[in-house]
Amino acid sequence: MFEWIQTSIDGIVDGAIYALIGLGLSLSYSSLSRLNLAYGAIAMLAAYCGAWVAFQGEISMVLIALIVIGVAGLIGLYVEQLCFAKPLQVSGRIDNASVTADAGIDQRDLVALASSFAIWMQLEQLAINMLPRHMNAFPAFDADATVLLPLMGEQLILRLDRLTVAVLSIMLITVIHRLIKGSRVGLAWRAIAEHRMASHLMGISVDRFQTVIFILLSSLSGFTAFLILAIEGQVTAMFGMWMLLKGLTAAMLGGLGSVLGVMTGGLMLGLTEAWAQVFFGAIGREFAVYALLFLTLTLRSGLAARRKEQHFDRRVVPR
């Protein structure tokens, strides 16, 4: 019984962090209507820059964090301009949110997906060129500080840095959620996610808005990466892929584009991982995560697609 609780709490703590990873990805999806596959790579390259700087001498962690955040934002600008910035051509179709709202990847979306993964490969190689070793040191939080909670005659062990980051994640997510629902900017955001062209008609500078949001989200991903790597104390060449997969899983489990969804998804991911590790070991743990993702996709995404159809008042050709 006690193990269950310890495992579950570990899972939840990890889950909160996964949710933060997923948040950036999910929000950029709802802003652009396309998935940014370079998401992990942007954070990775920024993190590598931070590691490189840290390598040069005694540099404060705060400064490293700022560097990682700033560099991530800059790289985000590059990626956005290269892959996503082209204004959507309204070619003859007046209802720009096309009839096939979720029935398939539009040509443009496919192209953006493809070019963002091409840039993913590019950024990843740039990072590896910077620090060729597979594992590189990263400025770390104090890994020994733990919180001990007496429970059922035993002691729950929680690493303080993990716990802090988890709590920070939850706070950030909540703040962002409030902003999106309550503020003028959040309204503009949601309008763009609903219907791009109509948003233009409201006077929203959609392109500029999206660029700024993308840069902010990239910076957020840099911040997230910094926190995670500071817990680990090292960064590896697999980090970009890892971050993308975790973020993608967390975001998709709860439904792309939804802040509460990504929170749920992250927690589900964390808990699944924690329990699967106990029962099935390392390989089983990975497998369970993918299986969970796969099942969710095949069972749920049908629901998501149907919801969108109703809103647009047009019935996709019935099967």
Binding site: L82, Q107, A114, Q122, Q125, N129
Partner: protein, 364 residues
């Protein structure tokens, strides 16, 4: 023909040796290629043909409008399947390859079946999840059998070694290259023929606009399943060939990067023709590998190249409009040639036909 090439070791050695020599000598005729260079070329060309097959597998699926990050799964299945065939069941290579193809094709079909209602993005992620699950499952698979000199067979993370069919049957690397090229050629011809027929065009239509295609009465699901099965089989051929070439396979074959590269080749090379993916492969392997300067920057350049070209030509380099205009021009030239060759033909009919073709020569 296949029996003579793959057949028993005694009869084939002489033929094989002669073919191998012929290939080497013809390669040596190329400028700057000596014997060592010829060996290198044989290897590179084998790599290119195997990669082309998996690039074609992505291409076929892209035609039907699906982006897949999981083609590496069928590559791996083909590798494992055919290796099991030759090593554990003692089959000949052709039979084992067919078995591998069946594994890949069936798996692709199965995935496409259960992901039918998914939209493009969700399908892409599902394909990745599926491939990863397969990878993890195979990296835990142990099936060791004693075959004379010790245990052989998949050994979990350590992989599957001693896939020595090619060596045991004295198939020289040059002959292997010819096998790869022959298979690639057959696939290309088959695919190009398919695209001329109604079924190929229907698949393309679905890729462009599935709602429109369905409204026209096309059986979208069935055609998609067909394209998926085909793509699985293609990747499996590549895997089978690869496994026997390197004599060793392991679960790291299922690396998502492989699938990502295959996708990249198809997208970069172009979706207008089956030659497109080959162009993508050639660009990556041929140009970038050849110039040692760019060694550590290959992905930087290749990735950037894809992103830039896709902005300008979203359907790749050899896209449909290029293919169409090339075909039209070719037909026009053929038409003019025919006119020159048989001048006594009815010139009025000829020129009136020409008038319908846009851009015909005004002088006539």
């Amino acid at each position: 023909m296949s029996d003579r090439v793959f057949g028993s070791s005694s009869a084939a050695t002489g033929m094989d040796g002669a073919i191998a020599k012929a290939v080497r000598q013809s390669l040596c005729h190329l400028p700057g290629v000596d014997d060592a260079g010829a060996s290198y070329l044989v290897n590179v060309l084998s790599d290119i043909s195997i990669l082309s097959l998996i690039a074609l597998s992505s291409y076929v699926l892209l035609l039907s409008g699906r982006v897949s990050f999981g083609q590496q799964a069928y590559f791996g299945l083909g590798a494992y399947g055919s290796a099991v065939g030759t090593v554990l069941f003692g089959w000949s290579l052709p039979l084992a390859l067919v078995f591998g193809i069946a594994c890949g094709a069936f798996c692709a079909y199965f995935l496409a079946l259960i992901t039918r209602p998914l939209s493009g993005l969700y399908f892409a992620v599902a394909s990745l999840a599926f491939a990863e699950m397969l990878r993890l499952a195979l990296s835990s698979w142990h099936w060791q059998v004693d075959r004379g000199g010790g245990p052989v067979g998949p050994a979990g993370l350590e992989g599957f070694r001693s896939i020595r069919w090619l060596y045991e049957n004295n198939v020289a690397p040059e002959v292997f290259l010819l096998i790869c090229l022959a298979l690639l050629g057959a696939v290309l011809i088959g695919q190009m023929l398919l695209e001329r027929r109604r079924i190929g065009m229907s698949i393309r239509m679905i890729g462009y606009d599935e709602v429109l295609a369905a409204a026209q009465g096309l059986p979208v699901d069935r055609l998609r399943l067909f394209a998926a099965t085909l793509s699985g089989g293609l990747a499996a051929i590549a895997g089978g060939l690869y496994a026997h070439r390197t004599t060793y396979v392991e679960a790291s074959l299922f690396d998502p990067m492989l699938g990502v590269h295959a996708l990249g080749y198809a997208l970069l090379g172009g979706l207008g023709t089956a030659l497109g993916p080959l162009l993508g492969v050639a660009l990556d392997l041929g140009l970038l590998d050849a110039s040692r300067l760019v060694d550590g920057w290959r992905m930087v350049i290749f990735g950037g190249l894809i992103a830039i070209i896709l902005r300008v030509r979203p359907r790749g380099l050899l896209d449909e409009s290029l293919v169409n205009s090339t075909q039209r021009r070719a037909r026009h030239i053929v038409g003019r040639l025919r006119c020159l060759i048989s001048p006594h033909r009815d010139l009025d009919a000829q020129s009136s036909r020409d008038a319908i073709v846009p851009g015909s020569i005004r002088k006539s």
